[in-house]
Amino acid sequence: MSTLFGSLYGLLNPLALLLTLPAVGFLMYAYMKKGQGLRHTVASTLILSQLKSRVAARRTFRPPPIFFLELLILLLMIVAISGLFKKEPARHIAILIDNSLGMAISQSDTARATLGSSVLQEAVREARSYLGGMRSDARIKVLATSPWMKPVSPRTLSPAEADFALSEVKQAYGQDRLEFNIRQLFASGKYDHVAVFTDKRLKQSEKGTGLDALERVSIFSVGGRSQLSQERRTDLQNIAVISAEMKRSDAAGDRMTVTATATAFSTGAAEVTLQLREYSIISTGGDFLPIQTVSKTLEPGKPGKFVFTDVQAVNPLHVRIVSNDQSRSRNNRIALDDHIWVAPDSTTAEPLVISDGSLKALGLEQLKSQPFKLVSPHEYEALAGANDHIVKNAPMNIFYKYSPTKFPGSDSLFVLPPANSTFFQSTEVVTRAEVTRWLRSHPVTTYLNLPALSIPALQPLVVPPWGNDLISTTRGSAAYLGEKDGKRIVVLGFEIFPYEAGEAPVISIFTLNILKWLNAETRSSHLIPLGSPVPEPELQTAELFTHTGLVSLRQQLDSGKITPDQPGLLRYLAAGGEQKTAAVIFYDERESNTLEPGYLTLGSLPQGEAPAGADIERFGPLLAKLLVLLLLAHLIFLCIQPTRQPIGASR
């Protein structure tokens, strides 16, 4: 395809153009032969050979005017066969700005990550340049990717308005989820083109289905990370605080031990200092008080633990990277991941996850507030048989595709128990199960629009007498719960892992509700992953304290659901008047690891319905009409050819 006069032109059957050369050659040959004249046998060429008008040989090709008419007809036929079409430039365009944490990389040698020197700012400049070449009648939606995809403006904009709206794109925490977001945009059917401005590089789909995607998506890779070369690695180093957890130093005392983990994404060892601070709303009017400082040398790419001991935790705690040396700024290009909030409370025992897989595979690592302990089924049986305290003290268990030989002594969640389980019965796996009924007004189903729950594969459960059917589908029971032997039990016949937080909100809230109901709510109410909704119904007030200031959540409160979009300390008044505090945290190595370029893979994209105005004009009908006219002209031309009267000889 190529652009001409602002429109894209292409050919449906470009191979048909190969006919041009032989067709034109054939026509020319025919006229050259005709120009030589038809062969006629005459009685004698005795007299004819004496004529002066003999043509010895025709060396130059001088066709008559009708040749050009026939050539035009021939060429138009070829063009019609080749399927010439015109595609109006995309008029419904989505401009997706990656404002994830990784875009906060400071590209200046001296300045830190502030607007004006970040990759995000460069992306905005690129977007403005892109808008500059757009038709004025294009309809544009400007969206930002993080912490979840949302438009900058509720309505579609003109290019000039979009240019102005780009100023509203702010640096955010969170991931970009570009592939997911791009698919969402096309699936909506509102856009015929998406322009993405990101620090990621495009990686074409190995299955070769990216061509269609490449025509519908423009990827603008900005920033040094997208053009990462060996030489530039030393300029894009970063240090990030990954996590911070607090545990009681001893079972009886009120002293806590805070363990913070940081990683240096550097080419060499990095000297890192973490500071533990206390955030006091009452005594200091909302300010930080330093408590302790711990320094450590981190090996490149390896997490290092910073332990703050003997901490008296009354107020919320905050950990941050400190550095007195401004020259160190080159080693720490992103400031947003230099700090983390610590929840004011923590559990002493860890819930158990009994699975042959990993916590990462189950997505449970995203629940930073809840350090689950993973044991294999074999290990569990051994520990349970030995009445080990790990099993005995575990506040809850999550059995993933496993059913123990002995019924657990703690609240437990069973996800896809084997069909031949002792305690649980189920039937063969089925597909296309649609939710028909669910247990309403239950804490587990709070905040849930269960008909929106997608269950690709269901292992229909047989609800025992002690259980209550939690979710019924067209293919059987998908979940039930109840109390057995004094323990709360939830059994699921469909997959809820891996936990994907905001990417799968229904499942995520369902999972958090289950965990909360099973008394594993400790972290979920005190540590909230960024982008996850606060699993509290009917919040009355809510405010978020960030390291840069107070953020009002009134707008979210009015909508009925609070989803913090940046790290901070969330203080809210729950239903019943209970004041609660939770830390909103975020960490994603893909965003913080500045040494590794991110890749964007485009496969086949959903078609959706073509938005109004997106049109492809095929020239076939027009060419057909034109050809008919030309053929008619050709016919008339032939008919009106003068018939010469022979010159009669004298008789």
Binding site: T41, S44, Q50, R54, R644
Partner: protein, 293 residues
């Protein structure tokens, strides 16, 4: 079989005609033509002195009475005429087939043959390269001649002079020779043919047969490759209006040259156009030329 041209009316017209030779010839037998032989024919010729032994019946007593001398009448003996018709049956006479030149020439030959046969003349038709008929001298011979001409496989590529001479060789007695051809051949060939006939002491008549396509070849064509039907030579042409005018001029010049050549030897020339009818040409035109009376 005679063509449709030979309807009863035309045949009756032909029967009223005579072949006229401009010279007297030595005939083999009695016929309707004056012979070189002197003898007992019915045509008075002149006187000679009486010689003993002459028949007294031939003494012209009137002259004796006036001159007192005895003279004997001398008479020219009337003989049968040898009539040789060479009819060109080469490819040029058949090109284009729709022109009908060969048929026209054939019918002229048959018409003259009929007239000759009605006079009890000896008729032999030669189609060079194809055949030479035996001599026919009776009226019924016209049908045989017609059949022979119908069966003739014309349109061959031949050495015209060689074949013509072969046919001419069969002429034993001088008489009337008619050459019927389109004469669209090099002048030298025509010259040789005429000279060969002159060597046979024939009273030569040349009839040129041309069709419309000879007068205006390749009507409606502009650019054309003309192929000679006999030689196969190719000529590429741009037949503009001017070119056609030039062609007409050159054809006329060609014909004029032939005519002048023939005139030098007292040979009559006639131009037959296929746009006429055979009857028109034979009855009206040939009568004016003197071949027929």
């Amino acid at each position: 079989m005679l063509s449709d041209n030979f309807n009863p009316g035309y045949l009756r017209q032909l029967e009223l005609l005579n072949i006229r030779a401009r010279r007297t010839f030595l005939g083999a037998r009695h016929g309707g033509h004056l012979s070189m032989k002197r003898g007992h024919g019915i045509e008075f010729s002149d006187y000679r002195k009486y010689e003993p032994g002459d028949s007294p019946r031939h003494i012209d007593w009137g002259v004796y009475g006036r001159s007192d001398k005895l003279y004997v009448k001398r008479f020219q003996e009337e003989q049968a005429l040898s009539f040789f018709i060479a009819c060109d049956g080469t490819r040029s006479m058949l090109t284009p087939t729709t022109a009908g030149k060969w048929e026209f020439a054939r019918d002229i030959a048959l018409s003259l043959s009929y007239v000759a046969l009605m006079q009890h003349d000896s008729v032999r038709i030669c189609v060079p390269g194809v055949m030479t008929t035996p001599a026919f001298s009776h009226g019924r011979g016209i049908h045989t001649l017609s059949d022979l001409l119908d069966k003739a496989t014309t349109g061959n590529r031949i050495d015209f002079i060689e074949e013509f001479n072969q046919g001419l060789h069969q002429v034993k007695f001088p008489g009337v020779g008619v050459l019927i051809s389109d004469l669209l051949m090099p002048f030298e060939v025509i010259q040789k043919a005429v000279n060969a006939m002159r060597a046979k002491n024939l009273d030569i008549n040349v009839i040129q047969v041309l069709s419309d396509s000879d007068l205006d070849p390749l009507e409606n064509e502009t650019n054309v490759i003309a192929i000679d039907s006999e030689t196969g030579d190719e000529v590429r042409l741009e037949l503009s209006q001017e070119a056609r005018a030039e062609y007409s001029y050159r054809l006329e010049q060609h014909n004029l040259g032939i005519k002048e050549f023939l005139a030098n030897y007292g040979i009559s020339y006639s131009l037959a156009l296929t746009s006429q009818t055979v009857q028109e040409f034979v009855i009206q035109h040939l009568a004016r030329t003197g071949l027929l009376a």
